[in-house]
């Protein structure tokens, strides 16, 4: 047991927990004032239900003792935290890892909430989240970390494929089943509270240091490099997005800075423990530019991804994951993984990255689509028109976000 490592993993876990509220504010601020509480609730709900599911059977299926299960899914040996002791050699490190990864499990479905905003039944969401976690998140996680994809040599440091690409493509499947919001895309809805968006952005960036650098599962050199990468990629991507906007639309915006920061954080996530030097800046710049254009696709392609989960998380995650194929630098880390093309490697790593993402995309899209269809055919996934017009806060939660002024 090393107290520094324990301290680091625990702090990182707390920081990742904090990201889900952060995400809620980031999304909620962008939403209209009559749907913001539904957005917050979709996010907070994830940190209520997923932890329970995770310690019950999620963890053991996804990441249980490496010997367990097969290359596709774990077994039930560590179900209900069975046999995870805090005394002895391990000193609690395994349990700390369960908690740390539980935070990841919780925020992943929360990412999807941004796409389905303003029109999804909360009852459908309540079922979707735990089921999706088990049917989509858990197997993809297993494949990537210790399963058949990881074993082939693909890399995903803190969840580019397993989390962002996975949730991003699932978001697309969800909105294809859900359909468009009334009035979209002709009627637009500007963010109801940009300060709330920026509060969310600040919390997300802060927490993301735990997300990425904590994924070293030790306070060591790799954690430090992952930290530095998280710092630089977010900055570069935020800058890139703002510059594109400034040139293209005439204004550098807060929402652009925030979106770029998040895009950079997403893109560096898979790469954080494998790239070094100025690489995170390049990754950030590419992600910032690409995502800034990617969010405009939905209008052309006609899918109503309300708050751009596809454009930011799917695209950003994919960009970062593929760029590992160019930037991976094992020598710097003194570690054994394939070199990227810019560091003397062949295209093999890039192909493995493509394969890993491809596999995740196919599985995630197919199962998510099926799950949403099933929900649509049974309890229904979409609120009725009147609820949508009234606003989901009042219609589904009996609450109103703001009661200010003398008329409440």
């Amino acid at each position: 047991m090393d107290s520094g490592n324990i301290a680091w993993v625990l702090v990182s876990a707390a920081m990742v927990l904090f990201m889900t509220p952060g995400l809620a504010f980031f999304y909620g601020g962008m939403d209209r004032g009559r749907n913001v509480l539904n957005m917050l609730m979709m996010n907070f709900y994830c940190v209520l239900i997923v932890p329970i599911v995770w310690v019950a059977i999620g963890y053991t299926l996804a990441y249980g003792p490496s010997a367990v299960g097969n290359d596709f899914i774990g077994n039930f040996d560590a179900a209900f935290l069975k046999d995870i002791a805090i005394t002895g050699e391990d000193g609690g490190m395994t349990l700390a890892t369960v908690a740390f990864l539980g935070m990841f499990a919780a925020i992943t479905p929360a990412l999807i909430s941004g796409a389905v905003a303003d029109r999804m039944k909360f009852s459908a969401w309540a079922i979707f989240v735990p089921v999706w976690s088990l049917l989509v998140y858990v197997p993809v996680f297993k494949w990537v970390y210790g399963g058949w994809l990881g074993q082939r040599g693909s890399l995903d440091f803190a969840g580019g494929t397993a989390i962002h690409v996975n949730a991003g493509i699932a978001a697309l499947a969800c909105v294809l089943v859900l359909g468009k919001r009334k009035g979209w895309p002709t009627e637009g809805h500007p963010p109801h509270s940009m300060p709330l968006v920026m509060i969310g952005t600040g919390i997300l960036w802060f927490g993301w240091f735990g997300f990425n650098a904590g994924s070293a599962l030790a306070a060591n050199g790799q954690a430090v490099q992952a930290f530095m990468n998280t710092f630089l990629a977010a900055a570069a991507a935020g800058l890139a997005w703002v510059v594109v906007e400034w040139l293209r639309d005439g204004h550098p915006t807060n929402l652009g800075a925030a979106s770029g920061i998040v895009a950079g954080l997403v893109a560096i996530t898979p790469a954080a423990g494998y790239v070094s030097g100025m690489s995170p800046i390049w990754i950030g710049l590419v992600a910032g530019v690409v995502c800034c254009y990617a969010v405009k696709l939905k209008a052309k392609a006609g899918y109503d991804d309300a708050l751009d989960v596809v454009g930011v998380h799917f695209v950003g995650g994919l960009v970062g994951s593929l760029l590992i194929g160019f930037f991976a630098n094992p020598e710097f880390f003194g570690a054994e993984f394939m070199e990227g093309i810019f560091y003397g490697g062949s295209a093999e790593l890039l192909l493995e990255q493509a394969l890993a993402n491809g596999a995740a995309i196919v599985w995630s899209f197919a199962i998510t689509f099926g799950l949403m269809k099933l929900l649509a055919l049974t309890i229904g996934v979409r609120v009725d028109e009147e609820q949508e017009a009234t606003g989901l806060d009042l219609a589904l939660h009996g609450e109103t976000a703001y009661h200010s002024g003398s008329l409440g």
């Binding site: 637009g188 500007p190 906007e245 915006t253 929402l255 652009g256 969010v295 405009k296 209008a299």
Partner: protein
Amino acid sequence: MKLITAIVKPFKLDEVKSALQAAGITGITVSEVRGFGRQGGHTEVYRGAEYRIDFVPKVRLEIVVADESVDSIVSAIAEAARTGKIGDGKIWVSDIGQIVRIRTGESGVDAI
């Protein structure tokens, strides 16, 4: 008695208020409104998507005055609120049959 309603630019409110005080007005009711007119609105761009905002913030003043003061008050407002640029606003006047001061129950010109 008359009710004068004026729609003015928000940043002119302080000047209009001073002009009205100078003209002897002791009571005004104001509210935030949005105006649509020749002035046009503006466009905001979020993540590359444009949102057109047609309604421009304005302030609305309501002042009940005795018949004889109407003209002077209307011109006082108009002068104080004028910038000469499109969107300065409007003033209109209508008849009031009765006015009551709630505190005392007084009515008519005394209640203004």
